[in-house]
Amino acid sequence: MKVDDTGLLAREPDETSYLTAGTTLRSWLLSTDHKRIAILYAASITVFFFIGGAAATMIRLELFTPAGDLTTADEYNRLFTLHGVIMVWFFLIPSIPGTLGNFLLPLMVGAKDVAFPRLNLMSWYLYVTAGLFTLAALLLGGVDTGWTFYTPLSTLYSNSYVLLAAFGIFVVGFSSIATGINFIATIHLLRTKGMTWMRLPLFAWAMYATSLVMVLATPVLAMALLLICGERLLGLPIFDPRVGGDPVLFQHIFWFYSHPAVYIMILPAMGVVSEIIACEARRRVFGYQFMVYAMLVIAVIGFLVWGHHMFVAGQSPFASMIFSFLSFVIAVPSAIKVFNWTGTLYRGRIRFSAPMLYALGFVGLFTLGGLTGLFLASIPVDVHLSDTYFVVAHFHYIMVGGAVSAFFGGLHFWWPKITGRLYNENFARSAALWLFFGFNFTFFPQFILGYLGMPRRYHEYPPEFQVWNVMSSTGAVVLAVGYLMPLFYLGYSLLHGERAGDNPRDATGLEWTTSSPPPQHNFHEPPVVRSEPYAYHDWDEAPGDADETPQTDPA
């Protein structure tokens, strides 16, 4: 213990903190410590986020004017394919599970590590290998099929590096599966004494639901992509319409994965937001059990709604009706979650910290994203809107406004735990507000564009759409600047930030009972859980006193 220059009592990083337990490159690259793997993931997804973001910026710059003057059609097609592929598989899907999930899940359930630490390391290597394949495809000249790889464009007509990219995604799928298996096994078998299912933090539940989807959806994508590889590499005509192949079948197996994949992105975000809101509002999560069941229901029904991507694809009206119906049904658990987050604020003692701003932003943006989902679940409206900018805006509200906001919120929330240092709260709050503003500025006009009929994936467009495109592109510049801001103040915090205490947020979870940053083996003694996850009880303590019961204490 020593008094640092701020005059506060702060602990030097533990001798055996996971950060100091070895400083060689080898000790990082061959570490099986879930916390180090989380850091490896964090570094690599950041790289991919900025690659994908650069592509997005180029796309929006091109769309400032109706003519295709900044890029050629081919370059534009390669840019949006790159943006989609990178953002979906190399950023969004591994983002929260790979970083926060890996770091926090074992801590939250009171385990020393995930169930299969070496598999966990392998998952990162698979991710990196896959990333290299995909980047190779990019450097050699790109891929122009869109992230959906629809046949027969991808198999017979595209003259680009489809094989490399498809193989890259095939490999990254295994990384996802490995993470999923690890998390499910960890939650089932490594919960510490007293950590019953109904005492699991919602983030752990979110990881459980996400992992289910990862494990059960990804292999079908793997098969779809492998068939594309087989068709391109060996010429086996599997989807070839000339021998009776049905392009709609590819869409079925593609969306069997790719719709649940949306839930791989949003369920972890829901978990993060639940943690942040409960802690920052100093309030027990409203309807904890409903929150749990809602996530599980989303994970299961999420598998039965993929056909709403195919209302105009030549699917039978009967199937469209069923898929439409189930898509409306899945809106219910999502709505339950939104209401419960709102309800959690009731009678709280709310701190407007940066993570809380991200979380509240998430609630608004996710709600709008979800509501616009109802438009796309209604067949007649979807026929008009599908493949227009309305769809683009809708899924960006879910994936950027939802998943990315939550990722940033979670990153800030657990930053003191992960790095052992505090960041500048004012900078962080400004960045959160800036991003919220920039996001809406970018994507709200796209709803209007979509209703007016502007198709997506157009690098040229009729001039009457220009007003809204200029708005959206201007917003994108604001957003791009916003995403650079955390790099600076978080980078500064990493090197010069004030030391954080063990539990700077006065939170209840097991992860906060360890030192910051946590020791290599997480807990010196296996912790024993004696109470529910969100025992914040503001009313029986005078302000200023501890108003939370850690999970290790009896309620």
Binding site: F116, A185, L189, P219, V220, P237, I238
Partner: protein, 206 residues
């Protein structure tokens, strides 16, 4: 009795570790079911579209070699089961012998498959071959696409399985028989897939 099993981080008791390994492997097998399931789905649709063409194509598949392979794989599953149970019971001579037998049978499967491929190719039974006997025939062409695709994917699975089984020989089996147990599970799964492929590729009648 067998000696104390080796514990791997983060486990503290052997029973828990074994449960986790078996559970983890079954989770993986669930993904494999869905992986091959995607294939079987496409196969089912294609076959329903043109059952006659499928049968025409399948008539040229080498039933003898396919059946020999089925028996080889079935037998290898039995020998690997012996190996696993012997390891668990501490009967190391038996375990080693059975593992070697499994390796021999698995390799024989791949060798037979190789012969079969050579024969298929010499008969131009590859959809892109210029002399493909069924060119223009929808069902038969798709049958042969599926045949090549799935047998190659299965052979890759089997090769990985051979690697895993071979690794058992280098392990301290009396203390790590759990590894043998999960390896066996994977091997049996690859066997079941073949048991399903055999009628779908070789016994296709009109």
């Amino acid at each position: 009795m067998s000696s104390t099993p080796i514990l791997v981080e983060p486990f503290e008791e052997p029973e828990r570790q074994r449960e986790a390994m078996v559970f983890g492997l079954w989770l993986f097998l669930a993904t494999e079911i869905l992986f091959f399931g995607g294939f079987f789905f496409l196969y089912a649709v294609a076959r329903m579209q043109d059952p006659v063409g499928f049968a025409k194509g399948a008539a040229r598949a080498n039933l003898l070699l396919g059946t020999v392979n089925t028996v080889l794989l079935m037998t290898s599953s039995a020998t690997l089961t012996v190996a696993e149970r012997a390891a668990q019971a501490g009967w190391m001579r038996g375990a080693r012998g059975a593992i070697l037998a499994t390796l021999a049978l698995g390799t024989a499967f791949l060798a037979v498959k190789g012969f079969e491929y050579r024969e298929d190719l010499s008969e131009h039974l590859f959809p892109t071959s210029p002399a493909f006997p069924f060119s223009g025939l929808v069902g038969a062409t798709r049958f042969w696409s599926f045949y090549w695709f799935v047998t190659i994917v299965h052979a890759i699975h089997l090769t990985i399985g051979l690697g895993c089984v071979a690794r058992l020989l280098r392990l301290d089996l009396p203390r790590r028989w759990m590894v043998a147990e999960v390896t066996t599970l994977y091997w049996h799964f690859v066997d079941i897939i073949w048991l399903l492929l055999w009628p779908l590729l070789y016994l296709v009648g009109p």
